[in-house]
Amino acid sequence: MSNELRVPTMAELFAEGKQPEVLFWVGCAGSFDDRAKKITKAFVKILNKANVNFAVLGTEESCTGDPAKRAGNEFLFQMQAVTNIEVMNAYEVKKIVTACPHCFNTIKNEYPELGGNYEVVHHTQFLKSLLEEGRITMEGGQFKGKRITFHDPCYLGRANGVYEAPRELIRKLDAELVEMKNCKKKGLCCGAGGAQMFKESEKGTKDVNIERTEQALEIKPEIIAAACPFCNTMMTDGVKNKEKEEDVAVMDIAELIAKAEDL
């Protein structure tokens, strides 16, 4: 299957004198993390099926600098930002889609002041627009009637006010969307943001991802839908910790759609 993925790079298209309609910013997790790579591939399968003219930066992509900035290392962040902006401006990038809310937030909000002005959308927004334009059709298929809850990534929801795009996609799967007691603006963090993903947590009574997983399990979903590679890791770990991995799957919205379409 994976051999059939068509993933052109900006450099290849540039050599042919072509410009894609959108740059797919894969991100570090999407490139290197085993779980997140599956999300990347699911999203590419949908892009391929919808014949979206996209490209990736491939080896020319580098960390946006988000975890460095949130950790307090503004130097490293700006070095990363300026380098990335130089690359993207050279390719005259206009529009970017990414499956990582952290990359999304950083490129959309923090790059403009440093010279990087692009239209940036999250992959759930992009998928929603593909659906509205009729470039993909969705039928619930195997998710029909399934109880799915959506965990709002902080950097998509509160940080940027995107609450509806992912929910609309879940509804389009004919699934039963159930909400946790803390959702949307009041969504509880998975515990990974602000560079926490890369360090041991401080002393406390519980890990944040366990608290969030408990909130999710309370409403007995069959699937916890995520829209962020880090949330995905945290919730997957939480479900494993509660020994519920047999009953509850943690899946990205892109994976849900790809699976519903038998991609």
């Binding site: 080896t59 503004e74 947590s201 009574t205």
Partner: protein
Amino acid sequence: MEYLPNITFLLILVAGIGYFARNVKRLYRNIKLGKDVNVSDNKSQRWKNMARIALGQTKMVVRPISGFLHIIVYVGFIIINIEVLEIIIDGILGTHRVFASLGVVYDFLIGSFEILALLVIVSVVIFWIRRNIISIKRFINPEMKGWPKKDGNIILYIEFVLMLLFLTMNGADYQLQNIDALHYVKAGSFPVSQFIAPLFSEMSEDSLIILERTAWWLHIVGILLFLNYLYYSKHLHIVLAFPNTYYGKINPKGQLDNLASVTTEVKMMMDPNADPFAASTGENTGEPDKFGASDVTDLNWVQLLNAYTCTECGRCTSECPANQTGKLLSPRKIMMDTRDRLEEVGKNINKNNGELIADGKQLLGDYITTEELWACTSCNACTEACPVSIDPLSIITDMRRYLVMEESAAPSDLNNMMGNIENNGAPWPFNQMDRLNWKNES
């Protein structure tokens, strides 16, 4: 002698307002100890935010019970304070109920003040029960021990007493009107105090007048004392909520500012034509900018305004994922610490004739520990929860910046992460040349 009450009143009024003005000046000076920040953009959006969030209380009602009770006290205090205008005029001119000639309008006004006063009393009692009997968690967090708890209760006591004095004054007045006492014009409607008046039915006219006058004087003196209590209390929010929501963050919550001082250096490093030795010959002869914040004077003035605005409601802390899971971090404490340190710096300046003499203390370490700072997930739950647009996250970020860029004091895990980004463009030790390998993996 005839004008003694008028003169006494004027003196008390001038003293009360004068002392308040002195403290407002100090407050302004302290806030301006912060770094300058450009908040002159998006004026119409800012006005809208102030109207919606401060005036309209939209974020208070996210929690319906406390929100509803707060609106009663808020509306009560604004409306009942119209009465203060009459009291001041009466006090200066020696008149009694100078607006009585408004007739039906006056009846309506006094009637509504009374109903609101009763509602305020009821709300204040419920607030007190929530704080002291039910002990709602956000009111008993560690940072609320001692003065903050007392402060919260003192405010409730003052409000209770002021409203009670207002109703007592009206009740005595109503009784005096009923017995046709001299100077007591028949004016106003007394939907609440008419039920208090019978308590005074046995009293002579003289005692009634003493009661009415005492309540009147205590009421106005109480209001002036309350006004002056504000500066020493969390209650300052009744004034500062307005500028604070105006100057609050306009950008998406996820957007952190890019440090301009860093941008300059990064641009220079990236510019192949830059002369590395030219930097020092420019106009930047002063000390180089400190990166991030270790003390209140490193923060910007909006962050300091935030600190004075905080009324310690604890909604931020109760939504904070770190706090919920038992970590030391409490966004409310970040704001309280910032305010307390700023007050300490302000007092230092007062004592030393306008100059800050180093006291060997700072916000970082002496007030806020690194353990608190590193527990933050930057999830913005606190900024979303704040009913008056306070941003604890920006202070946490600035202090992390100081720790990392000035002290190189990040947790070792984060140093590894940053080393990886620096060397291979990813937070994990993977080679940048392998970034597209996923394409061919099954």
